[in-house]
Amino acid sequence: MSIELIISLVKANIVLAVLLTNTILLIWFERKVVAGMQSRVGPDRAGPFGILQTLADAIKLLLKEQILPSKADRAMYLLAPLIALVPSFLIFMIIPLGPDITVEWQNVLYTIPLVGADLNVGVLYFLALSSIAVYSVVLAGWSSGSKYPLLGGVRASAQMISYEAAMGLALVPVILYSGSLSLVDIVNSQAGNLSSSIPILNTIVSFIPKWNIFPQFVAFGIFFIAAVAEVNRAPFDLVEAEQELVGGFHTEYSGFRFAMFFLAEYINMFNMCAITATFFLGGWLGPTFEGILPPIFSVIMPIIWLGVKTFLLLFVFVWIRATLPRLRYDQLMELGWKRMIPLSLVWLILSAIVLGLREFGLPWS
């Protein structure tokens, strides 16, 4: 077996382990933060600060009976949770966690990139897989053979298509700025600090890192709102609106299959935040304190920086959930089609003009 194959297998297993542990932490984090914002205590029984509560819940779900509704479409009903889970794991594979590391083993140097796969069409891969994820919700809703899940499924298909368009359009200016569709190159293009040709401005902006969020703040806003809508989080959680649709598309699911939907939702949320951090907040870039900390930290620090940025964004996700009321269906569609898509198109044209002027100069000069 070749060494590349072994490295790939190890990577896949690490991703599985990291995402599963991370989800356990994330659910606890969300419950604690929401509890804090609503002056409650939150989970505090299992383990220190209730951190093992999610683990207990997961074990409970695993041991529960799995019900197959009599009116359900058997094949699609069983397929839907799988379709939910697979894309969420696959998306994480393209997120760069750090720069390449070099390992010496049996006197041979190996360069291991800290990314599952550096695709030259990484951005498209991300968009393609998140569009595949829509099927899980739609199929789960339809195949349950019940009213409320069907309504949830129909809502989901319309919502996710609308916001995918805005999301893709918001990413185009970022691609223009970075000049690449590969996530590794997009992170590398954000290294260094901002600079300006005007001397006074240059002294001010030269302290700001060259992250895409500063020139592309509008794209960041659109992308972040679309990301919240895409993972069906509040205030865009019409798909699983408890007050109207019982549990939404997963009403009829129980036991482990319900756990798979739950897992996929949180992994998707984590992926979205990690991808937002990669596109707009410089990904793993950050000071590594080389020379001050022991050398092992130059490997670990990038991962820590990405984690810090991701969890900051996740905090915003939870914050939004705890504070904003749910949108009505027509408001949701209006926001998507009449506000966000035109705005992202205008912003795309503006960025293209600015980049063109910077690259080629004024048209008459």
């Binding site: 498209l124 968009l127 393609a128 739609v138 069907l150 298909s157």
Partner: protein, 175 residues
Amino acid sequence: MVDLILFFIPAALIIIGALIVVFAKNPVHNAMGLVMTLVSIAIIYITLNATFVAMVQMLVYAGAVMTLFLFVIMMIGVDKKEQSSESIKGQTFLVSGVFLILISILGYVAISSEFKWDLWFEAVEFAVEGTPQLIAGTLFTAWIFPFEIISILLIVATAAAIALAYDSKRKKNDV
């Protein structure tokens, strides 16, 4: 060996998906069979080093178009078992004729190439490194005029569809 495996698994999935599209009684199952076919075709594209085309296939066909199909199937509620009687006269006869022609073409191609086939394109450096650049370079320089005409055509079609829908709605409101 690897190229054979990478060809035959998606190829088998394409055929199974296509058979589901034809033979399944439930429209949602048909749609999902089509999704399977489209995704498997994307995998074939990847083995041919056309990563950009593969991703666009996944994004546009398997993602957006088929989700709209499903949405329409659910919205207008045709997700019931369809009747198996012929709606076009001589349907079976026509279909089997087309099928025979297809089979004979396939047989001719297989025999004339003496059962040899190229499944795997040699990895060329620029093909792997630069598919988006290659496509963009060709599309936006040599083919910019046809490209723009196609986009205008699509906008006209969309606008026309909206205009048609809008007009009939207004007439209803007047009555």
